[in-house]
Symmetry: C2
Subunit: 316 residues, 2 copies
Amino acid sequence: MKKQLAVGVDIGGTNSVFGFVDREGKILARGRISTALHDSAEELVKVLCKEIRKLQQELGEESELVGVGIGAPNGNIRSGCIEFAPNLKWKGIVPVANYFETDLGCPATLTNDAKAAALGEMLFGGAKGLNDFLFITLGTGLGSGIVVNGELVYGHDGLAGEMGHAILIQNGRLCGCGRNGCVETYCSASGIRRTYLEKSCLAPDAKIDSKFIYEKALSGDRDAMDSFTLTGEWLGQALANSVTYTSPSDIFLFGGLAQAGELIFTPTRKSFEENLLNIYRNKIKIRPSHLAENEAPILGAASLAWKKVKHTNQYE
Amino acid sequence: MKKQLAVGVDIGGTNSVFGFVDREGKILARGRISTALHDSAEELVKVLCKEIRKLQQELGEESELVGVGIGAPNGNIRSGCIEFAPNLKWKGIVPVANYFETDLGCPATLTNDAKAAALGEMLFGGAKGLNDFLFITLGTGLGSGIVVNGELVYGHDGLAGEMGHAILIQNGRLCGCGRNGCVETYCSASGIRRTYLEKSCLAPDAKIDSKFIYEKALSGDRDAMDSFTLTGEWLGQALANSVTYTSPSDIFLFGGLAQAGELIFTPTRKSFEENLLNIYRNKIKIRPSHLAENEAPILGAASLAWKKVKHTNQYE
C-alpha cells in the first residue's frame, strides 16, 4: 500500500516553501523557491508543482498525494483564490487552488497563512483535542485563526479572523489599512518597533527590527524592556476583548515576537487577567505555540489537506 | 398522532413568561407569573411547571412535549445552571434545567436570553438559512448571540457572546461590570440615557428612559436627536470591530433601542461602513430583527428545544 502524504505549500512575498507531510505531522521532505522571481501566479504554481513532483521522486518510496494545502496572504478558502494580496507581484483575484488541482491532479485547499497555522496547531501542535481556541501570529502584522466547536471560523465570505484590525485605541496609530488604532499597530513586530522608536526618540526610518529590540532588552536596555512591557499590556487588552466573542479555553501566540518568551508573555498574561470581564478570569491560558517557527508554514498548509481527508473519511 | 410542541420559558428579573410553540414557530398559548414572588429557583420552577401543565390541558387537543427551552440571565448551556445572576433573588449556581427535566419529564435546555433569541431568529425569524450572523439585543445592556457555521457560539465554558463588554473606549464610561469603556455603556438603552443626560445637562438620577428620548427626538429635540446619532456612531464602531472576528453576512438588532427605527439604524449603518476594514465594506447588512418584541423571549427559548429535536433527528 502506498504511503499517504499531503503537500503543504506556503506562498510568501519573497519565498515559497513546500513539503511532504505524513498523517502524524512529520515533514518528510521540503524545498523552497523564490516567489518574487515569477511574474504570474500561474507560472509560480507551474514551477512549484514541478519541484513537488521532483521531490516526490526523490522521496524514494511510493507515495500517494491525498491533497495539497496552500497558505497564502489573502487566501480565501471559499473561492480558492488569492484576492488582492498587497505583497505579491500579481494583482486582482487569482484562482491558485484551481491551478494546483489541475497540475497535481489532487484536491487543493487554500486559506490565509494564519488560519492554516491555526489548523496546524490543532492537528499537530498544542491544540490537539481543543474545541475553542485562538491562534495569534505576531509577525509584521497580527494574524489570527479562531477555532469554535472544533472548526476554523471562516465567516460568510472566508475572511473572518482579522482581529489585528479591530480598533484597540480610538484615533490611535495609523495602520497600513488606512484606519487608526488597529490592534496590529501596537501588537506585532512592527508595532513594538514603533513603540521602541517613540521611547528612544530614534528616527522613524532607523534600521532596527524586533530582534534588535529583544537583544537590547536582554542586555538591560530600559527603553527596550519598557517596549516589551507596553506591547504586552496592549496585547493583554486586545486578547481580553477578543475573549468576549468566542470564549476560548486557550490562546496560542506564534511568530517572532512570541519567541521573546517571558519578556512578552509575562506582561501579556498580567494585563490580560486585569482587563478580563470577571466571568472569564483565571481560566483561559495564554501559551506559546508548539509549532516550530520554520515548520509551521508547511505543517499548517498541509493540515488543510489532512483536515479535508479526515472530514471525508468521517462520512464514508 | 399527537401534535408535537415545545415549551419556551423566559425567566426575567421581574416576571417569567412561558408558552407552547409548534414546529413552525407559532405560539399556541402563553402565560406569565411573577419571578420576584418566589424565594428559590426550585419553588419558581415548581410553579412554572404547574402552570405549564395547566396550559397544556387548556390547549384541548392532545399534545406531546418535545422539550423545554429556558432563556435566563447568566444561563449556561453547558451546565444547565443559572450562574450568579445579579438580577435574580437566589444566589450562586442553580441547576434550573435539571429542575425542569425532573418535573416535566422531557429534555430541558437552558442558555442566556440573548443567545436564545438569536436561535429564535435563526429558526423562526429573519436569519433562516443564514450560517454566519450576529444577533444584538439593545436592552438595559447589550447582549449578543453569535452564529458561526450555522451553530451558536457558546465557547469553552458556555459564556461566549459578551461583546457588550468588549472595550470600545479606553478609560471610558464606568460599566456595571466594574471596568471602563464597555460597549454597552454607550450602545444600549441605559447608554443612550447617559448620553442624553450628558448632552442636556440633566441630573444623573433624572427620571427619563430611552422611550422618553425617542419621543423627544421625534418631536425635534436637538439633544435627543444628537443622542441617537452618537449612539449609532458608537454602535457602528463596535459592530465594525466585531466583524473582524467572525465576518457575519448579517447583523440583526433587537430590543427597545432597535424599535427606534431609522433614528438608530441610519447613523449605525453610516458609521459601520466608515469604520469597516476595506475587505468587509458594502456587503454586511444591518437589519431589524423579525421577531416581535413580545414573542421573542418565548420563541427564542422554545427554539432551544426545537433545535435539539432537529439535531437528534438528523442522526437517526
